[in-house]
């Protein structure tokens, strides 16, 4: 894992002290709320419905066991014994007091964590594949490039007051597990025919009010030009992005209004300018220096097949389901990547108690080289588990309510905090997720349905990625009542697609039944059991689902 150097250490310490002073000045009256608000947001501190909310950065979703234990400590000491993992691979605490925040930030800084750039119109936490560094299908570990981007973008003076927030994702596999094409900039690490490393570059993707899929502006950008090219994109956006209307201020609108070809031309022109100085060319030895922090752990050699793992699958249907859904292919023979689901049946997506965080930290120490990942799908991942150890790991997870074997299934639902917590929300989303989880919760039903991603947002800002859901649910306020619109056919993978609205919305009481109707229609009409929901919607179109929901026109 990346370790802070002296600069990082001093910088985070200085910012922690600076914010402590700002909090003191706010409480003493030296700063008004109007003056303080942008300062607290720059430090990840929001004011939500019930309390302050602190969003803590988990750079590219990578945590050590030590850092996870610190998150548990913060939840236990300053909050209400739980935290919420988000779709940006971060963690939110829902109940910190303003007066405690400086102490929280001091504690976090002691394990190289902070809350910087988790809010505001700046470059946010760079996200990546939650299987990074372990996935069997990756070209290389994408995290060194995420770290290079993090270092470059942290308090970058030119990009601290952008027209709007800015999100970057980096993947390194043909399989997109990070919704890369729904980012302001998406980068796909690849190798060209000469075996050189570079990136396909996508610009102008995003969710929210105006969902758009990113446009490919470069098929192969040499890795040495990563920062120069991203800086060129940022400059074009910073110069021409709209500042008159915050709903039209994201780069996706600029790309849409200007045209992808013209934007690509402007980026190339700016890139040519940036390159003249050579200042941002990434030297090979610097890339190697950062890569050294992300060297794969020295895993003892194992045979590809584990008899203990196979025997446990044969012994227990529940374990077999866990193995099938929650254990993914690792690049090292005899190892697996284990998803620890934060979606217990009927539970709150993404929430983990302080005790569960401690347990995951302990299990990471015991079974996964002390490494943990946070997924944008609001689960945790133990990236380096010997298949021989999975049965013992499963038993420990089960003892703490973390054994749900539903990764990628219908109950593995993304849901934003919604109107239960969020000041921007128009409708609740967690209760809808819980209702659906209970309806589809039996192991048999989930196995029958197979892969199906339901994503729920409580407002148009789309923190729950509803546009990218195979089934997307958007809560709106219709004359004081919570109403839920349904979209079908969205996808956040390499076949990225924006879901299409199926028809008029449903009340909170109706929405669960409506989704059951959609799923039943799929089960009735699929050509064979392995035709996924998404494939069936793409083949059938909306018509049969509309008819099932609203009757034939």
């Amino acid at each position: 894992m990346y370790r802070y150097d002296e600069f990082d250490h001093d910088f985070v310490q200085a910012r922690t002290a600076q914010f402590a002073d700002q909090v003191e000045r706010r409480l003493s009256g030296e700063l008004t709320e109007e003056q303080f608000r942008p300062l607290r947001l720059m430090n990840g501190l929001y004011l939500q419905l019930h309390a302050y909310m602190l969003r803590i950065a988990v750079p590219y979703g990578t945590l050590s066991s030590k850092q996870m234990r610190m998150l548990a400590h913060v939840g236990r000491t300053y909050d209400r014994n739980y935290g919420h993992f988000t779709t940006r691979q971060n963690l939110q605490f829902n109940w910190p007091t303003l007066k405690d925040v400086p102490a929280i930030l001091r504690d976090l800084a002691s394990v190289e964590m902070h809350a910087l750039q988790t809010s505001g119109n700046c470059i946010r936490n760079v996200t990546t594949d939650h299987f990074a560094g372990a996935a069997a299908d990756e070209v290389a570990d994408p995290r060194p490039y995420c770290e290079i981007l993090r270092q470059w973008s942290s308090i970058h003076p030119e990009f601290s007051y952008l027209p709007r927030k800015f999100k970057i994702a980096v993947i390194a596999s043909p399989k997109d597990r990070a919704a890369m094409q729904f980012h302001d900039i998406g980068l796909e690490l690849k190798r060209n025919d000469a075996g050189e490393t570079g990136f396909a570059v996508f610009v102008g993707g995003g969710l929210g009010r105006t969902p758009m899929i990113g446009h490919r502006v470069r098929d192969f950008l040499p890795e040495e030009d990563l920062l120069a090219y991203v800086e060129a994109i940022m400059r074009v956006y910073n110069l021409h992005g709209r500042r008159d209307n915050k709903y039209k201020a994201r780069i996706k609108i600029l790309v849409h209004e200007t045209g992808a070809e013209e934007i690509a031309r402007q980026i190339e022109a700016e890139f040519a300018e940036v390159r003249k100085t050579d200042l941002l060319r990434l030297p090979e030895d610097e890339i190697a220096r950062i890569q050294a922090y992300f060297q794969p752990p020295a895993l003892p050699e194992k045979p590809a097949r584990s008899s203990a793992f196979e025997a446990a699958k044969a012994d227990s249907r529940a374990f077999a389901a866990f193995a099938q859904n929650n254990v993914s292919a690792h690049k090292a023979a005899g190892y697996g990547i284990v998803t620890v689901s934060l979606k217990p049946i009927g539970g709150i997506p993404g929430d983990a108690t302080d005790a569960q965080m401690d347990v995951v930290a302990d299990l990471a120490d015991r079974f996964s080289q002390s490494e943990i990942r946070v997924s944008h799908e609001q689960n945790l991942v133990l990236p380096h588990v010997a298949l021989d150890d999975v049965p013992a790991l499963y038993a420990e997870l089960k003892a703490h309510g973390l054994e749900t074997g539903n990764a990628g299934l219908v109950t593995d639902i993304i849901a934003c905090p919604g109107l239960d917590y969020c000041a921007l929300a128009n409708a609740r989303s967690i209760n809808i997720a819980q209702d659906l989880s209970n309806r589809f919760g039996s192991a048999e039903k989930q196995a029958e349905i197979g892969e199906l991603k339901i994503k729920i947002s409580g407002c148009i800002n789309a923190c729950g990625h509803h546009h990218a859901g195979h089934i997307g649910i958007l809560g709106v306020d219709k004359r004081g009542e919570e109403v839920y619109q349904v979209t079908l056919g969205g996808s956040g993978d390499e076949t990225a697609a924006v879901g299409a609205l199926v028809g008029p919305g449903f009340t909170g009481e109706e929405i669960g039944g409506a989704i059951e109707t959609v799923v039943d229609t799929y089960l009735k009409l699929r050509e064979r059991p392995d035709e996924t929901f998404l494939a069936a919607v793409r083949r059938l179109g909306q018509k049969p689902f509309k008819e099932a929901l609203y009757g034939a026109a």
Partner: protein
């Protein structure tokens, strides 16, 4: 991005309003009371009846902002039923009662 204040009182014609905000030091939901202080219990809130009374209550609430007791004081519609005062809009009901999905964190709101 910060929350736009939902000035529900301006949108509807409920007969009664109270003034609410979040306490500066800890963010807790509070309501202006009849003595000009701030209470966590909506049942103890000052109920404004009529435009002049509401204007006065909001002005007192804004004093609470200046005095660093609350952040963003604003009026909300309420109704009085058998269980006492209840906000009209769901957003304010959830603020008054706590997250609906964590009953262990609920705020007592009865009369």
């Amino acid at each position: 991005m910060t929350a736009p204040i939902q000035k529900s009182a301006a949108k509807t014609k409920a007969a009664q309003q109270v003034v609410t905000g979040n306490r500066l030091i800890d963010g807790v939901v509070v309501y202006l009371d009849a003595a000009g202080g701030w209470t966590e219990k909506i049942q103890d809130a000052r109920v404004a009846e009529g435009a002049d009374d509401l204007e006065d209550a909001v002005a007192t609430g804004k004093e609470g902002e200046k005095n660093r007791i609350v952040v963003e004081a604003y009026p909300i519609d309420v109704t009085r039923g058998p269980d006492g005062l209840r906000p009209v809009r769901i957003r304010e009901k959830i603020r008054a009662e706590g997250p609906t999905v964590r009953m262990d964190l609920a705020r007592p709101v009865g009369a």
